[in-house]
Symmetry: C2
Amino acid sequence: MNSSKNSSNDHRLICTVDIVLLTLREGQLQVMLLKRDREPFDGALALPGGYVHTDEDQGCEDAAQRVLLQKAGLQSPYLEQLASFSGPARDPRGWSVSVAYFALVAAPEHGQPGQHWLPVDRLPQLPFDHGRIVAMAVERVRNKSQYSSLPVYLCTEPFTLPELHAIYAALLGEAINPVSFRRKMDELGMLEPVPGAKRADGAHRPAQLYRLKDEYRRTLRLVGRGLNA
Amino acid sequence: MNSSKNSSNDHRLICTVDIVLLTLREGQLQVMLLKRDREPFDGALALPGGYVHTDEDQGCEDAAQRVLLQKAGLQSPYLEQLASFSGPARDPRGWSVSVAYFALVAAPEHGQPGQHWLPVDRLPQLPFDHGRIVAMAVERVRNKSQYSSLPVYLCTEPFTLPELHAIYAALLGEAINPVSFRRKMDELGMLEPVPGAKRADGAHRPAQLYRLKDEYRRTLRLVGRGLNA
DNA sequence: TAAATAGTGTCTCTTAGACAATATGGC
DNA sequence: GCCATATTGTCTAAGAGACACTATTTA
Protein backbone atom coordinates (compact mmCIF):
# COMPACT_ATOMS: atom_id res chain seq x y z
CA MET A 1 0.00 0.00 0.00
CA ASN A 2 1.00 3.57 -0.47
CA SER A 3 3.70 2.37 -2.78
CA SER A 4 3.37 5.56 -4.76
CA LYS A 5 4.69 7.48 -1.77
CA ASN A 6 7.53 5.28 -0.82
CA SER A 7 10.33 7.01 -2.63
CA SER A 8 12.16 8.93 -0.01
CA ASN A 9 11.88 12.13 -1.98
CA ASP A 10 8.20 12.20 -1.20
CA HIS A 11 9.03 12.72 2.42
CA ARG A 12 11.33 15.66 1.99
CA LEU A 13 10.05 19.02 3.06
CA ILE A 14 11.04 22.59 3.74
CA CYS A 15 13.01 23.05 6.94
CA THR A 16 14.01 26.38 8.37
CA VAL A 17 15.26 27.85 11.60
CA ASP A 18 13.88 30.99 13.23
CA ILE A 19 15.57 32.97 15.95
CA VAL A 20 13.87 34.90 18.69
CA LEU A 21 16.62 37.27 19.73
CA LEU A 22 15.69 38.97 22.96
CA THR A 23 17.14 41.74 25.02
CA LEU A 24 16.06 44.02 27.79
CA ARG A 25 16.04 47.73 27.15
CA GLU A 26 14.17 50.45 28.90
CA GLY A 27 12.92 47.88 31.35
CA GLN A 28 11.15 45.97 28.63
CA LEU A 29 11.80 42.66 27.00
CA GLN A 30 12.32 43.40 23.32
CA VAL A 31 12.64 41.18 20.27
CA MET A 32 14.71 41.81 17.18
CA LEU A 33 12.85 41.81 13.89
CA LEU A 34 14.15 42.26 10.38
CA LYS A 35 12.42 43.62 7.34
CA ARG A 36 12.09 40.75 4.90
CA ASP A 37 13.73 41.33 1.54
CA ARG A 38 12.03 38.58 -0.41
CA GLU A 39 8.79 36.72 -0.85
CA PRO A 40 6.82 35.54 0.94
CA PHE A 41 5.88 38.54 3.07
CA ASP A 42 8.43 40.75 1.31
CA GLY A 43 8.84 43.94 3.31
CA ALA A 44 7.19 42.68 6.49
CA LEU A 45 8.94 42.64 9.86
CA ALA A 46 9.73 39.09 10.84
CA LEU A 47 12.05 36.95 12.91
CA PRO A 48 15.47 36.37 11.43
CA GLY A 49 15.53 32.91 9.96
CA GLY A 50 16.69 30.84 7.07
CA TYR A 51 16.97 27.46 5.49
CA VAL A 52 18.98 24.72 7.03
CA HIS A 53 22.00 24.15 4.78
CA THR A 54 22.54 20.44 4.65
CA ASP A 55 25.87 20.90 2.96
CA GLU A 56 27.43 22.84 5.82
CA ASP A 57 25.32 22.67 8.98
CA GLN A 58 25.98 19.84 11.40
CA GLY A 59 22.55 20.36 12.93
CA CYS A 60 19.81 22.95 13.22
CA GLU A 61 21.71 24.67 15.98
CA ASP A 62 24.53 25.35 13.54
CA ALA A 63 22.01 26.87 11.20
CA ALA A 64 20.74 29.02 14.04
CA GLN A 65 24.23 30.24 14.88
CA ARG A 66 24.82 30.98 11.23
CA VAL A 67 21.63 32.99 10.92
CA LEU A 68 22.45 34.85 14.10
CA LEU A 69 25.87 35.78 12.80
CA GLN A 70 24.75 36.72 9.32
CA LYS A 71 21.62 38.60 10.21
CA ALA A 72 22.49 40.08 13.57
CA GLY A 73 26.25 40.02 13.57
CA LEU A 74 26.26 38.08 16.81
CA GLN A 75 28.59 35.31 17.82
CA SER A 76 27.35 32.70 20.29
CA PRO A 77 25.18 34.48 22.83
CA TYR A 78 23.03 32.28 25.01
CA LEU A 79 21.12 30.10 22.53
CA GLU A 80 18.52 27.47 23.35
CA GLN A 81 16.18 25.41 21.27
CA LEU A 82 12.60 26.51 21.85
CA ALA A 83 10.37 24.13 19.89
CA SER A 84 9.46 23.19 16.38
CA PHE A 85 6.53 24.58 14.50
CA SER A 86 5.10 22.83 11.54
CA GLY A 87 2.13 22.46 9.26
CA PRO A 88 0.80 23.03 5.77
CA ALA A 89 -0.30 26.62 6.25
CA ARG A 90 2.33 28.42 8.30
CA ASP A 91 4.44 29.10 5.20
CA PRO A 92 2.80 29.83 1.85
CA ARG A 93 5.57 27.90 0.13
CA GLY A 94 4.12 24.67 1.44
CA TRP A 95 4.22 22.21 4.31
CA SER A 96 7.15 23.27 6.46
CA VAL A 97 8.96 22.73 9.70
CA SER A 98 10.71 25.50 11.54
CA VAL A 99 12.98 24.71 14.43
CA ALA A 100 12.82 27.81 16.60
CA TYR A 101 15.58 28.98 18.92
CA PHE A 102 15.76 31.84 21.31
CA ALA A 103 18.86 33.84 22.12
CA LEU A 104 19.57 36.38 24.82
CA VAL A 105 21.97 39.29 24.55
CA ALA A 106 22.78 42.35 26.56
CA ALA A 107 21.16 45.42 25.05
CA PRO A 108 23.38 46.35 22.10
CA GLU A 109 24.69 49.91 22.08
CA HIS A 110 24.11 50.49 18.42
CA GLY A 111 21.71 48.22 16.63
CA GLN A 112 22.87 47.07 13.22
CA PRO A 113 21.19 48.83 10.33
CA GLY A 114 17.86 47.29 9.46
CA GLN A 115 17.35 45.78 12.89
CA HIS A 116 14.16 46.69 14.65
CA TRP A 117 13.81 46.10 18.36
CA LEU A 118 10.20 45.97 19.49
CA PRO A 119 8.73 45.37 22.94
CA VAL A 120 7.37 41.83 23.04
CA ASP A 121 4.16 42.93 24.69
CA ARG A 122 3.22 45.30 21.90
CA LEU A 123 4.01 43.55 18.66
CA PRO A 124 2.20 44.07 15.40
CA GLN A 125 0.80 41.08 13.57
CA LEU A 126 3.78 39.03 12.39
CA PRO A 127 4.03 36.88 9.26
CA PHE A 128 4.12 33.09 9.32
CA ASP A 129 3.43 31.94 12.87
CA HIS A 130 6.11 34.21 14.25
CA GLY A 131 3.69 35.74 16.72
CA ARG A 132 3.16 32.39 18.35
CA ILE A 133 6.88 31.65 18.31
CA VAL A 134 7.72 34.91 20.04
CA ALA A 135 4.98 34.34 22.58
CA MET A 136 6.34 30.92 23.45
CA ALA A 137 9.89 32.24 23.72
CA VAL A 138 8.80 35.00 26.05
CA GLU A 139 6.87 32.57 28.19
CA ARG A 140 9.89 30.28 28.37
CA VAL A 141 12.26 33.08 29.30
CA ARG A 142 9.95 34.52 31.96
CA ASN A 143 9.36 31.10 33.37
CA LYS A 144 13.01 30.14 33.52
CA SER A 145 13.85 33.47 35.07
CA GLN A 146 11.89 32.40 38.10
CA TYR A 147 14.25 29.63 39.00
CA SER A 148 17.49 30.02 37.09
CA SER A 149 20.37 32.26 36.28
CA LEU A 150 19.11 32.82 32.75
CA PRO A 151 18.76 36.62 33.13
CA VAL A 152 22.50 37.10 33.58
CA TYR A 153 22.78 36.71 29.83
CA LEU A 154 20.85 39.93 29.48
CA CYS A 155 23.56 41.81 31.38
CA THR A 156 26.79 43.30 30.18
CA GLU A 157 29.62 42.13 32.37
CA PRO A 158 30.61 43.29 34.79
CA PHE A 159 27.35 44.28 36.40
CA THR A 160 26.19 45.24 39.85
CA LEU A 161 23.72 43.34 41.97
CA PRO A 162 21.20 46.19 41.84
CA GLU A 163 21.41 46.07 38.05
CA LEU A 164 20.83 42.33 37.96
CA HIS A 165 18.06 42.72 40.49
CA ALA A 166 16.33 45.23 38.25
CA ILE A 167 16.59 42.85 35.31
CA TYR A 168 14.99 40.01 37.22
CA ALA A 169 12.26 42.33 38.43
CA ALA A 170 11.58 43.62 34.92
CA LEU A 171 11.40 40.11 33.49
CA LEU A 172 9.12 38.81 36.18
CA GLY A 173 7.06 41.96 36.14
CA GLU A 174 7.05 42.35 39.90
CA ALA A 175 9.14 43.53 42.79
CA ILE A 176 11.65 41.09 44.25
CA ASN A 177 12.74 41.33 47.81
CA PRO A 178 16.28 42.70 47.61
CA VAL A 179 17.48 40.85 50.68
CA SER A 180 16.25 37.51 49.41
CA PHE A 181 17.69 38.31 46.03
CA ARG A 182 21.14 38.87 47.42
CA ARG A 183 20.89 35.76 49.53
CA LYS A 184 19.98 33.70 46.47
CA MET A 185 22.74 35.08 44.30
CA ASP A 186 25.12 34.41 47.11
CA GLU A 187 23.99 30.81 47.51
CA LEU A 188 24.25 30.22 43.79
CA GLY A 189 27.94 30.95 44.04
CA MET A 190 27.97 31.83 40.37
CA LEU A 191 29.19 35.41 40.64
CA GLU A 192 32.47 36.77 41.84
CA PRO A 193 33.23 40.36 42.74
CA VAL A 194 35.66 42.14 40.48
CA PRO A 195 38.31 43.20 42.98
CA GLY A 196 38.15 46.86 43.73
CA ALA A 197 35.70 47.61 40.93
CA LYS A 198 32.65 49.63 41.78
CA ARG A 199 30.12 51.50 39.77
CA ALA A 200 29.34 55.00 40.92
CA ASP A 201 26.12 56.20 39.55
CA GLY A 202 25.10 59.29 41.48
CA ALA A 203 25.42 60.91 44.84
CA HIS A 204 25.47 57.74 46.86
CA ARG A 205 27.43 54.67 47.72
CA PRO A 206 28.70 52.92 44.58
CA ALA A 207 27.89 49.28 43.98
CA GLN A 208 30.29 46.38 43.77
CA LEU A 209 30.79 45.02 40.26
CA TYR A 210 30.46 41.29 39.68
CA ARG A 211 31.27 38.91 36.87
CA LEU A 212 30.30 35.33 36.12
CA LYS A 213 32.74 32.76 37.34
CA ASP A 214 34.30 31.15 34.32
CA GLU A 215 32.94 27.71 35.07
CA TYR A 216 29.38 29.04 34.89
CA ARG A 217 29.78 31.05 31.75
CA ARG A 218 27.90 28.57 29.55
CA THR A 219 25.76 26.85 32.15
CA LEU A 220 22.47 27.74 33.70
CA ARG A 221 22.29 27.57 37.46
CA LEU A 222 19.05 26.52 39.09
CA VAL A 223 17.75 28.28 42.14
CA GLY A 224 16.44 25.97 44.85
CA ARG A 225 12.73 26.77 45.29
CA GLY A 226 12.96 29.56 42.74
CA LEU A 227 12.87 33.20 43.55
CA ASN A 228 9.45 32.92 45.08
CA ALA A 229 8.36 36.13 43.51
CA MET B 1 25.84 34.16 -4.79
CA ASN B 2 24.73 30.65 -4.06
CA SER B 3 22.35 30.90 -6.92
CA SER B 4 22.88 27.25 -7.64
CA LYS B 5 21.16 26.40 -4.37
CA ASN B 6 18.23 28.66 -4.62
CA SER B 7 15.66 26.28 -5.99
CA SER B 8 13.50 25.40 -3.08
CA ASN B 9 13.95 21.69 -3.73
CA ASP B 10 17.52 21.99 -2.56
CA HIS B 11 16.27 22.81 0.89
CA ARG B 12 13.98 19.87 1.32
CA LEU B 13 15.05 17.20 3.70
CA ILE B 14 13.92 14.12 5.57
CA CYS B 15 11.60 14.85 8.46
CA THR B 16 10.37 12.26 10.91
CA VAL B 17 8.75 12.08 14.31
CA ASP B 18 9.89 9.80 17.11
CA ILE B 19 7.87 8.94 20.18
CA VAL B 20 9.22 8.21 23.63
CA LEU B 21 6.32 6.34 25.17
CA LEU B 22 6.86 6.00 28.89
CA THR B 23 5.12 4.18 31.65
CA LEU B 24 5.85 3.12 35.18
CA ARG B 25 5.86 -0.55 36.00
CA GLU B 26 7.46 -2.39 38.85
CA GLY B 27 8.49 0.95 40.24
CA GLN B 28 10.59 1.73 37.21
CA LEU B 29 10.19 4.17 34.40
CA GLN B 30 10.06 2.10 31.22
CA VAL B 31 10.12 3.02 27.57
CA MET B 32 8.38 1.23 24.72
CA LEU B 33 10.59 0.04 21.90
CA LEU B 34 9.67 -1.72 18.69
CA LYS B 35 11.69 -4.08 16.59
CA ARG B 36 12.35 -2.33 13.30
CA ASP B 37 11.07 -4.16 10.24
CA ARG B 38 13.04 -2.31 7.60
CA GLU B 39 16.34 -0.67 6.86
CA PRO B 40 18.13 1.14 8.27
CA PHE B 41 18.76 -0.85 11.45
CA ASP B 42 16.36 -3.59 10.38
CA GLY B 43 15.67 -5.80 13.37
CA ALA B 44 16.99 -3.42 16.00
CA LEU B 45 14.91 -2.16 18.91
CA ALA B 46 14.09 1.49 18.39
CA LEU B 47 11.60 4.20 19.27
CA PRO B 48 8.37 4.12 17.31
CA GLY B 49 8.55 6.76 14.64
CA GLY B 50 7.75 7.59 11.09
CA TYR B 51 7.74 10.11 8.36
CA VAL B 52 5.62 13.19 8.54
CA HIS B 53 2.87 12.83 5.93
CA THR B 54 2.42 16.21 4.36
CA ASP B 55 -0.72 15.06 2.63
CA GLU B 56 -2.62 14.30 5.81
CA ASP B 57 -0.84 15.69 8.89
CA GLN B 58 -1.70 19.20 9.99
CA GLY B 59 1.54 19.38 11.93
CA CYS B 60 4.17 17.15 13.48
CA GLU B 61 1.94 16.53 16.46
CA ASP B 62 -0.61 14.94 14.15
CA ALA B 63 2.12 12.70 12.84
CA ALA B 64 3.03 11.80 16.40
CA GLN B 65 -0.57 10.91 17.26
CA ARG B 66 -0.78 8.86 14.10
CA VAL B 67 2.39 6.94 14.92
CA LEU B 68 1.19 6.39 18.46
CA LEU B 69 -2.10 4.97 17.23
CA GLN B 70 -0.62 2.81 14.50
CA LYS B 71 2.34 1.47 16.38
CA ALA B 72 1.10 1.35 19.93
CA GLY B 73 -2.66 1.32 19.50
CA LEU B 74 -2.97 4.32 21.77
CA GLN B 75 -5.32 7.23 21.39
CA SER B 76 -4.27 10.58 22.84
CA PRO B 77 -2.46 9.92 26.07
CA TYR B 78 -0.50 12.83 27.47
CA LEU B 79 1.70 13.96 24.59
CA GLU B 80 4.25 16.76 24.63
CA GLN B 81 6.85 17.93 22.19
CA LEU B 82 10.31 17.20 23.53
CA ALA B 83 12.78 18.73 21.08
CA SER B 84 14.10 18.30 17.58
CA PHE B 85 17.19 16.37 16.69
CA SER B 86 18.97 16.93 13.45
CA GLY B 87 22.18 16.48 11.54
CA PRO B 88 23.85 14.68 8.68
CA ALA B 89 24.83 11.56 10.57
CA ARG B 90 21.96 10.60 12.84
CA ASP B 91 20.17 8.76 10.04
CA PRO B 92 22.15 6.87 7.39
CA ARG B 93 19.62 7.95 4.78
CA GLY B 94 20.99 11.47 4.94
CA TRP B 95 20.63 14.83 6.65
CA SER B 96 17.47 14.57 8.72
CA VAL B 97 15.33 16.25 11.32
CA SER B 98 13.34 14.33 13.86
CA VAL B 99 10.78 16.09 15.98
CA ALA B 100 10.63 14.02 19.14
CA TYR B 101 7.62 13.75 21.44
CA PHE B 102 7.12 11.99 24.69
CA ALA B 103 3.91 10.39 25.84
CA LEU B 104 2.84 9.03 29.21
CA VAL B 105 0.44 6.19 29.79
CA ALA B 106 -0.65 4.09 32.71
CA ALA B 107 1.05 0.72 32.65
CA PRO B 108 -0.86 -1.30 30.04
CA GLU B 109 -2.24 -4.64 31.23
CA HIS B 110 -1.32 -6.53 28.10
CA GLY B 111 1.32 -5.06 25.86
CA GLN B 112 0.56 -5.29 22.17
CA PRO B 113 2.52 -7.96 20.34
CA GLY B 114 5.96 -6.80 19.33
CA GLN B 115 6.12 -4.11 21.97
CA HIS B 116 9.09 -4.23 24.27
CA TRP B 117 9.07 -2.29 27.50
CA LEU B 118 12.53 -1.67 28.90
CA PRO B 119 13.63 0.20 32.00
CA VAL B 120 15.05 3.54 30.93
CA ASP B 121 18.03 3.20 33.22
CA ARG B 122 19.21 -0.02 31.63
CA LEU B 123 18.82 0.38 27.89
CA PRO B 124 20.97 -1.28 25.28
CA GLN B 125 22.61 0.83 22.63
CA LEU B 126 19.83 2.25 20.44
CA PRO B 127 19.96 3.06 16.74
CA PHE B 128 19.94 6.60 15.36
CA ASP B 129 20.30 9.01 18.27
CA HIS B 130 17.45 7.34 20.11
CA GLY B 131 19.53 6.90 23.21
CA ARG B 132 19.96 10.63 23.53
CA ILE B 133 16.29 11.23 22.81
CA VAL B 134 15.18 8.84 25.53
CA ALA B 135 17.64 10.37 27.96
CA MET B 136 16.28 13.83 27.32
CA ALA B 137 12.69 12.63 27.68
CA VAL B 138 13.45 10.98 30.99
CA GLU B 139 15.20 14.06 32.25
CA ARG B 140 12.24 16.20 31.24
CA VAL B 141 9.72 13.91 32.90
CA ARG B 142 11.69 13.61 36.12
CA ASN B 143 12.21 17.32 36.20
CA LYS B 144 8.58 18.19 35.57
CA SER B 145 7.49 15.68 38.16
CA GLN B 146 9.15 17.85 40.77
CA TYR B 147 6.76 20.70 40.30
CA SER B 148 3.74 19.56 38.33
CA SER B 149 0.92 17.12 38.12
CA LEU B 150 2.52 15.29 35.21
CA PRO B 151 2.75 11.94 37.03
CA VAL B 152 -1.02 11.57 37.24
CA TYR B 153 -0.88 10.54 33.61
CA LEU B 154 1.00 7.45 34.70
CA CYS B 155 -1.95 6.37 36.88
CA THR B 156 -5.05 4.46 35.99
CA GLU B 157 -8.06 6.31 37.29
CA PRO B 158 -9.35 6.15 39.84
CA PHE B 159 -6.31 5.91 42.04
CA THR B 160 -5.55 6.33 45.72
CA LEU B 161 -3.26 8.95 47.19
CA PRO B 162 -0.81 6.33 48.43
CA GLU B 163 -0.61 4.99 44.87
CA LEU B 164 0.06 8.42 43.44
CA HIS B 165 2.53 9.08 46.19
CA ALA B 166 4.44 5.93 45.26
CA ILE B 167 4.54 7.02 41.63
CA TYR B 168 6.01 10.40 42.48
CA ALA B 169 8.53 8.77 44.76
CA ALA B 170 9.55 6.25 42.09
CA LEU B 171 9.95 8.97 39.47
CA LEU B 172 11.97 11.23 41.70
CA GLY B 173 13.94 8.34 43.07
CA GLU B 174 13.56 9.38 46.68
CA ALA B 175 11.14 9.34 49.54
CA ILE B 176 8.56 12.10 49.68
CA ASN B 177 7.13 13.24 52.95
CA PRO B 178 3.60 11.84 52.90
CA VAL B 179 2.10 14.68 54.90
CA SER B 180 3.53 17.32 52.57
CA PHE B 181 2.44 15.26 49.61
CA ARG B 182 -1.16 15.19 50.77
CA ARG B 183 -1.08 18.90 51.53
CA LYS B 184 0.21 19.66 48.05
CA MET B 185 -2.33 17.49 46.28
CA ASP B 186 -4.99 19.12 48.37
CA GLU B 187 -3.83 22.64 47.50
CA LEU B 188 -3.69 21.77 43.82
CA GLY B 189 -7.41 21.11 43.94
CA MET B 190 -7.06 18.92 40.92
CA LEU B 191 -8.39 15.69 42.39
CA GLU B 192 -11.80 14.80 43.67
CA PRO B 193 -12.73 11.80 45.77
CA VAL B 194 -14.95 9.27 44.11
CA PRO B 195 -17.87 9.18 46.55
CA GLY B 196 -17.87 6.08 48.62
CA ALA B 197 -15.16 4.37 46.62
CA LYS B 198 -12.25 2.91 48.47
CA ARG B 199 -9.57 0.46 47.60
CA ALA B 200 -8.97 -2.32 50.10
CA ASP B 201 -5.65 -3.88 49.62
CA GLY B 202 -4.94 -5.97 52.68
CA ALA B 203 -5.71 -6.24 56.31
CA HIS B 204 -5.87 -2.54 57.00
CA ARG B 205 -7.82 0.60 56.42
CA PRO B 206 -8.69 1.01 52.73
CA ALA B 207 -7.74 4.17 50.87
CA GLN B 208 -10.06 6.70 49.30
CA LEU B 209 -10.14 6.62 45.51
CA TYR B 210 -9.68 9.86 43.60
CA ARG B 211 -10.13 10.98 40.04
CA LEU B 212 -9.00 14.02 38.10
CA LYS B 213 -11.51 16.81 37.98
CA ASP B 214 -12.71 17.14 34.44
CA GLU B 215 -11.36 20.62 33.97
CA TYR B 216 -7.84 19.40 34.68
CA ARG B 217 -7.96 16.33 32.52
CA ARG B 218 -5.82 17.83 29.76
CA THR B 219 -3.88 20.45 31.71
CA LEU B 220 -0.82 20.29 33.83
CA ARG B 221 -1.02 21.86 37.24
CA LEU B 222 2.04 23.50 38.69
CA VAL B 223 2.94 23.02 42.30
CA GLY B 224 3.98 26.21 44.07
CA ARG B 225 7.62 25.78 45.09
CA GLY B 226 7.62 22.23 43.83
CA LEU B 227 7.60 19.16 45.97
CA ASN B 228 10.89 20.07 47.57
CA ALA B 229 12.05 16.53 47.47
C1' DT C 1 26.76 66.97 56.68
C1' DA C 2 22.57 65.85 53.92
C1' DA C 3 20.83 62.87 50.46
C1' DA C 4 20.66 58.69 48.27
C1' DT C 5 21.48 54.17 47.24
C1' DA C 6 24.44 49.89 48.67
C1' DG C 7 24.64 46.39 51.70
C1' DT C 8 23.78 43.83 56.48
C1' DG C 9 21.37 42.05 60.71
C1' DT C 10 17.54 40.24 62.57
C1' DC C 11 12.76 39.35 63.44
C1' DT C 12 8.53 37.37 61.64
C1' DC C 13 5.81 34.55 58.89
C1' DT C 14 5.06 30.85 55.77
C1' DT C 15 5.70 26.29 54.58
C1' DA C 16 7.98 21.84 54.55
C1' DG C 17 9.28 17.85 57.43
C1' DA C 18 9.00 14.97 61.74
C1' DC C 19 6.33 12.52 64.58
C1' DA C 20 2.54 11.29 67.20
C1' DA C 21 -2.31 10.31 67.36
C1' DT C 22 -6.50 8.63 65.42
C1' DA C 23 -9.40 5.92 61.89
C1' DT C 24 -10.88 1.82 59.74
C1' DG C 25 -11.05 -2.42 57.34
C1' DG C 26 -9.55 -7.45 57.30
C1' DC C 27 -8.52 -11.07 60.06
C1' DG D 1 -9.48 -7.07 69.65
C1' DC D 2 -5.00 -6.94 66.75
C1' DC D 3 -2.49 -5.49 62.76
C1' DA D 4 -1.47 -2.71 59.15
C1' DT D 5 -1.94 1.08 56.56
C1' DA D 6 -4.79 5.53 55.79
C1' DT D 7 -5.44 9.95 57.37
C1' DT D 8 -5.11 13.94 60.44
C1' DG D 9 -3.03 17.10 64.03
C1' DT D 10 0.60 19.52 65.73
C1' DC D 11 5.23 20.72 66.71
C1' DT D 12 9.77 21.99 64.72
C1' DA D 13 12.93 23.77 61.39
C1' DA D 14 14.31 26.10 57.21
C1' DG D 15 13.82 29.68 54.28
C1' DA D 16 11.49 33.99 52.38
C1' DG D 17 9.90 38.76 53.33
C1' DA D 18 9.80 43.06 56.19
C1' DC D 19 12.21 46.46 58.22
C1' DA D 20 15.58 48.85 60.49
C1' DC D 21 20.29 49.85 60.63
C1' DT D 22 25.04 50.72 58.87
C1' DA D 23 28.25 52.08 54.88
C1' DT D 24 29.88 55.06 51.38
C1' DT D 25 29.78 58.04 47.96
C1' DT D 26 28.65 63.10 45.76
C1' DA D 27 26.99 67.59 46.37
